[in-house]
């Protein structure tokens, strides 16, 4: 059992430090992943909190058939999907809030991604279609193999492989346009 699964078991057993350890381990990465769905980083942070609230309220069983990380990202993805479904339209974000959101996102990136090259790669991904950003984030920032990504995104592994291929081609073109280099194979 991985350390995250152990922390989750601790929490289910009544030890809130287990939840705290999971929050510490995943708050930044879940926020960055949810940025691929949310209109801004503040919304992504709210949805990240909702993800942990869901664990705390429903206490879903973790079967161990995937890594705990895959399980957690799947929960987060469903939360984002339900929020998007409820939204009639994306609210307009005032310019001041956009500036604040940019600053907050930079802060989260620096805390989690740390390396400048990774931050540049993450920025380059921002202009890609959402489905490309989701799959690239899970592959290159979370190191999830296509089969696990398929579990998170509720797609078949073949579809994920195809999506990854197209996403990589688009990202490569984008990086070439900007004369930037980063190994994404």
């Amino acid at each position: 059992m991985d350390v995250d699964a152990q922390n989750y078991q601790r929490f289910l057993g009544g030890d809130n430090d287990g939840l705290s350890a999971l929050v510490e381990a995943y708050k930044n990465t879940l926020t960055l992943y949810l940025c691929a769905y949310a209109p801004d980083v503040f919304t992504a942070e709210d949805w990240m909190e909702d993800t942990f609230v869901k664990l705390a309220v429903k206490r879903p069983r973790f079967s161990g058939r995937s890594s705990f990380k895959t399980f957690l990202f799947a929960v987060a993805r469903n939360i984002a999907r339900d929020h998007l479904r409820r939204q009639k339209k994306t609210p307009t974000v005032p310019l001041d809030d956009k500036a604040n959101a940019r600053s907050e996102q930079q802060s989260v990136e620096q805390q989690y991604l740390r390396q400048e090259a990774k931050i540049r790669l993450h920025r380059a991904m921002e202009t890609l279609p959402a489905q490309y950003r989701q799959v690239l984030y899970l592959r290159y920032f979370e190191d999830l193999p296509p089969r696990e990504i398929a579990n998170v995104l509720h797609r078949r592994p073949k579809q994920v492989e195809s999506l990854l291929y197209h996403a990589k081609q688009t990202l490569k073109a984008k990086l070439e346009q900007e004369d930037a280099s980063y190994e994404i194979d």
């Binding site: 929050v23 708050k27 942990f52 609230v53 705390a56 799947a74 999907r81 989701q134 509720h154």
Partner: protein
């Protein structure tokens, strides 16, 4: 961002509040149960009167017109008009979240990716691809649409990318469903072996239409009742947690399916964003996926109060009584 300590405290506080609300709702539910039993008994009688028989299966499997008898029809005040969908072109980065699904513009209408998925080999095996009616234009890159918003007005515009072949789908009304076949090359494994293939996108037009009743969608367009060969369910917890465990619906009798499809056909649609905006938060949900004789799938989400949605659409029907309960109970 909040500190881990504050965040954990907030999460535990919100969880506690939710537990208290749930306990209160359970107490209220117990009080209302007696009244519900009476309504259910009366409801069964009404549904039995309203039920109708299913005619023979179609002789021509490639024809798209249903051979089922249309329903008697609901009064116009119960029809629902689904407005013409305008795909919001991404003008800024944040808009791209709304743009995650494939679209195709054909004869001035927008077709969007459906819940039905199929491999190219399966599509060929089942002779699903009909007449080739065009070729897609545009790009699968979001920048293209930001820089060329006028391209969206053109015939064949699609974010699947240019060069996709647009086909009618045998067995489906082309004003409802089309397919795009797109060739791709990808590199797999440690040796980056080059693999070429074809991907099939099934796209449906479910906007700019008026649905008179459930029959209009479930039987006339999707042919669910005529072509269903199997069904599996997924629990909401499993769906919620990304666990791909599905359960066969073998316990459901043909009569129960018949009653369910009758009820679906005769129900009216409602825009749940208007009538029940918190519906998707409810814990009583089950997920049902049908496989049809042509290998395409139909995904329905069932809510405990009787609402049924296709592919999580906000436009849902609501059915009740035994016709719904038998299927809902049989789902895990």
């Amino acid at each position: 961002m909040k500190s881990t300590e504050t965040l954990t405290a907030d999460i535990l506080c919100r969880a506690e509040e939710t537990h208290k609300k749930t306990a209160l709702r359970r107490r209220q539910l117990g009080t209302a149960l007696g009244a519900l039993v009476l309504v259910a008994v009366l409801g069964v009688g009404v549904w039995q009167i309203a039920g109708r028989r299913q005619p023979e299966a179609p002789n021509d499997p490639t024809g798209w017109q249903t051979t089922l008898e249309p329903t008697i029809g609901l009064p116009p005040e119960l029809w629902v008009e689904i407005p013409k969908e305008e795909i919001k072109l991404p003008t800024t980065n944040i808009d791209t979240a709304c743009w995650a699904y494939a679209f195709l513009v054909h004869q001035g209408s927008t077709y969007c990716s459906s819940g039905a998925s199929i491999d190219y080999s399966q599509a060929e095996e089942n002779h699903l691809l009909g007449e080739k009616i065009g070729t897609t234009i545009g790009s699968d890159e979001v920048h293209y649409w930001m820089e060329h918003p006028e391209a969206y007005e053109q015939e064949g515009a699609s974010n699947i990318g240019s060069g996709g072949e647009i086909y009618t789908v045998n067995g489906y009304d082309p004003s409802f469903r089309l397919a795009v076949v797109k060739s791709y090359t990808e590199y797999r494994g440690d040796n980056h072996e080059e693999v070429s293939g074809k991907a099939v996108f099934i796209l449906d037009k479910l906007n700019g239409i008026t649905l008179h009743d459930g029959f209009d969608l479930f039987s006339k367009r999707l042919h669910l009742r005529e072509r269903m060969v199997s069904a599996v369910s997924q629990s909401h917890d499993d769906w919620d947690n990304g666990i791909q465990t599905f359960y066969p619906m073998d316990a459901v009798t043909p009569e129960q399916w018949d009653a369910f499809f009758n009820a679906l056909d005769m129900s009216s649609f409602e825009d749940t964003h208007e009538t029940n905006p918190d519906l998707s938060k409810s814990s009583g949900q089950k997920h049902l996926t049908f496989t049809l004789s042509d290998s395409l799938t139909v995904y329905l989400r069932l809510y405990a109060d009787g609402h049924v949605s296709l592919n999580d659409s906000r436009y849902m029907v609501k059915i009740a009584g035994d016709a719904f309960d038998a299927i809902y109970r049989a789902c895990k």
